[in-house]
Symmetry: C2
Amino acid sequence: MGSIVLKFGGPATASTERIQEVAKKVIAEKERGFNVVVVTAAMGRTTKDLTRMARDLSDDVSKRELDVLLATSSQLTSALFAMALQELGYDAVSLTGWQAGVQTDSVHYNARINNVNVRRIEEHFAEGKVVVVAGEQGIDEHQNITTLGKGGAETTAIAIAASLKAERVDIYTNVDGVYTADPSYIPEAQKLKEISYDEMLELSNLGSHILHPRAVELAKKFQMPVIIRSSITEAEGTLLKEEVEMEKNLLVRGVAFESDIIRLTVGYDAYSDASLADMFTTLAENRINVDIIVQAIIDGVKPSVSFSIVKDEFADALRVLEDSKLSLGFSFADFEIGLSKISIIGSGMASNPGVAARMFDRLRREDIPVKMVSTSEIKVSVVVPQDDMIRAANALHEEFNLEEALHA
Amino acid sequence: MGSIVLKFGGPATASTERIQEVAKKVIAEKERGFNVVVVTAAMGRTTKDLTRMARDLSDDVSKRELDVLLATSSQLTSALFAMALQELGYDAVSLTGWQAGVQTDSVHYNARINNVNVRRIEEHFAEGKVVVVAGEQGIDEHQNITTLGKGGAETTAIAIAASLKAERVDIYTNVDGVYTADPSYIPEAQKLKEISYDEMLELSNLGSHILHPRAVELAKKFQMPVIIRSSITEAEGTLLKEEVEMEKNLLVRGVAFESDIIRLTVGYDAYSDASLADMFTTLAENRINVDIIVQAIIDGVKPSVSFSIVKDEFADALRVLEDSKLSLGFSFADFEIGLSKISIIGSGMASNPGVAARMFDRLRREDIPVKMVSTSEIKVSVVVPQDDMIRAANALHEEFNLEEALHA
């Protein structure tokens, strides 16, 4: 009998009523003859309450203890989920991370999965049980409870599926699939029937908060098929897999955008002063996530480097630059706020150098100034004024014919 | 270095503010040079919330899953407690039941401890850490999470202390010790400096809700000294130990009382119909706790048996009797409400048969009718009208000179 892994989180497990509802989706898969693992995320409200309690006690909470605290949240959801399945007349058993064999490194609050020993899950399969695993948690080699940080439950689902050699993973979300762009801003956005791991990876990294990049990476590594689908409707979702054959010729597969971007520029008096390595090491050590980096070293002009960060990290970034001005050797820093980032993604563009040019041309025709540019094999990102973001995204969506090509 | 085990629960861990307060008591013991284990109980509010959520999902919740759910509560308290100790500048680590080596049987929701493997606790001692154990939980031989039911945290504390060969266990409560009677009703009640395990066992069973009988039994079995003390004041507590030498001559050491008792009487037409075994087996199977049992088989009078139960179980008991009338073969049942139970306890009375007589005589002089009587080696219990309870308790407290003898 084949096995599948179903991941539920967010609104799908926010209340006992919702758990009762989505439990029926699990039963449907069980009735199709699968051995089913359900992976549950924490209840958001619970996590918030727990974090507040920890903050009440200390400004500098031990991450090991924070993990012990936070792990209770998905454990709780897993038990409730198992109860819901039992109430529907099905045999089910909940497992914590360590019971499910989820072995991680010791980086508390942001642990990585090293291995999943699925022996116990398989034993419960042999008993005919649906196995409900508390996602977002595991155990390190010293038998300490760890939590997996952002995207932890999705990553757990894919790691378990890989170890079980499961047929696929279904990620139940509050959207019914992956779209060519965010439908709340781009009326012409279309749901994709399929998308490749690489494309999804770019989308995940670019402000489409459907599936965390680390989960996509793991799925790609193990070539695990993943379906993004709705926990509310019965709509067909989007299949995430290696090769997307049906629409191979398509250059661009989606448009992603993100507001509240800030550009920081740092200038040096001389080439010899400018060490990019020092600059970005210092920022990284202070946990400032830098996205696009543009270095300008033009003859006769003083060298400078610009980089984009999200608004939330602006104050921290300024403080770090201020504190490190001497050691980093720069002579001035300035910034520009009110920016946004727009990206076009598609594995087809790797072999087609004209895509970026077409993007710039369309933006120029729309009178939208491009402040920064960044490219990869399968995406082009530009920073544009935030006021122009939605107009730019719609224009690019139209430019690359996304409204007609990809119907599921 | 010697070790001690400190148990906190109820109001002492009801909020982060209270945890911060009581953590100082732990530090004081650590500073005295002890290796310290803290055992935490669940937060009452959390347990209530969790149980409500389970009830939302099912009227017939799997006890295994209920345990997974409820175990999160003391796990949560243990992590918060460790954080509070760390904030005070001390190295601390929280352990769940399974991490602390608490091995139990598989009776979910009411598991018994089989063994505590304290290897990990001792390793943390070697690192200089205070170890905070989530009480009320363990793990069975199949690696399932269990919870220990009523008195679980105290029992965990004593089991860990026994395995560690600790010097003593301190039970922090909202009272500052064991009194000759409940001081809120008996103004003359005195705090006891010491009390024997057997006397405490009778007190625990008789409505003094300070320490659960199973914890007292375990302490007696391992001859573990236990101090009952206040989590709020610095007052000296009551030491629980095997022999109480100081007041050996004292006949009676305490008066306990409990209201809302109901007497049920079942009558039979003939001796041959009356099977006490069948009756009490049926009641036990339906989880009706029967306390005092009085059988009346008098020549010329139809046989009957009376027993006392608490008010909460009255409806259930009536239902069981109704359902089983035929198989149990009784011809009538009646009941009396508005009763209470009063007990005098003291290991000295074992060798003094006059104590019960003196009790009955005093009650007679007070015009308080005795409805039922039950005796053991070290206690005498009587059932009297609830309206007379406080008056009877005060009279007996005076009768046995408890107000003067026992000052700590």
